[in-house]
Symmetry: C2
Subunit: 144 residues, 2 copies
DNA sequence: AGATGTGATGTTATACTATTGCGGTTATAA
DNA sequence: TTATAACCGCAATAGTATAACATCACATCT
């Protein structure tokens, strides 16, 4: 737990610096949502975050969706499409080409930044954005 | 249009043969859903199919979702995760490793069956299932 | 024929995911 | 000060998907 908090804090500070450098506003709500994602260490669903945003459970859906949109746009988080969930981006500036390996047993997400070229692109097709998600078992969950 | 219908019919017949060979029941509802996907030539949403399933608009959500589950399970269709939509599988038996190139202008989907190996798999990670979707513009929509 | 099992479908209700629209606040700029 | 824009709160609603249970059609066994 201590480790997790330290990591979260470091990542939060890095995010803050990045936002400042790019003229983006990491407001308290956005910062808190990012903090939740970092602490979870696994994809979170929007409605599961809602209850934690305001003690007492008072936050509304648009609050968390707006924060998530900002974080995804800023490259600080990814949407996990096949789970309708969200995860913190481990690499700061995503550049839009992340490749996720998601363990279905423990929920851990490993994130690679994909090679620039896609092997098999149809002739003349111009790729703007890719969704690449692999589901399975991580090494820790495969071992006996 | 004529061409589309001919293609659809051919694909439907192929699907029927495949199901028979594997002991799967391509019932009228399932067949009709597959037909809608084939005729559309682009991803369709479940609720958009609903109205067309029963003339008069009488079908209920579980009807179409069950049919889609069957088709996806049988390798006759794919879910397009980032669109919450479904598309017919061009290759009959999918084997579970499709790679989709989706034109955001005309909706056309090109489907490749991915190479068996994933370049960058983390050590010890065992991939069960992959979602690979590329969004952009197809050659026809890129040309002047 | 009658009983029973199984898979597919129908039906109702509900859960879950996400967005729209509006109004108020705050920070910044002219 | 006024204008402007970005952000947030709030209420309502749209869109996506499933649960739970009843029913039907068909096959098999007695």
């Amino acid at each position: 737990m201590a480790t997790t908090h330290l990591d979260s804090d470091a990542a939060l500070n890095a995010a803050e610096a990045q936002c400042r450098a790019r003229g983006l506003a990491l407001t308290p709500v956005r910062r808190r949502v990012l903090e939740l994602l970092l602490e979870a260490g696994a994809p979170l669903k929007a409605y599961d975050m809602l209850s934690q945003l305001k003690p007492g459970g008072g936050a509304q859906p648009p609050t968390v969706y707006r924060a998530l949109d900002f974080l995804v746009g800023a490259g600080l988080a990814h949407k996990v499409e096949a789970l309708n969930a969200y995860t913190a981006c481990a690499h700061g500036d995503a550049g839009g080409r992340a490749e996720l390996f998601i363990c279905e047993t423990c929920g851990h997400v490993e994130e690679h930044h994909a090679r620039a070229d896609i092997a098999d692109t149809p002739k003349g097709f111009h790729v703007e954005r890719s969704v690449v998600e692999h589901y399975g078992r991580c090494s820790a969950c495969s071992d006996p």
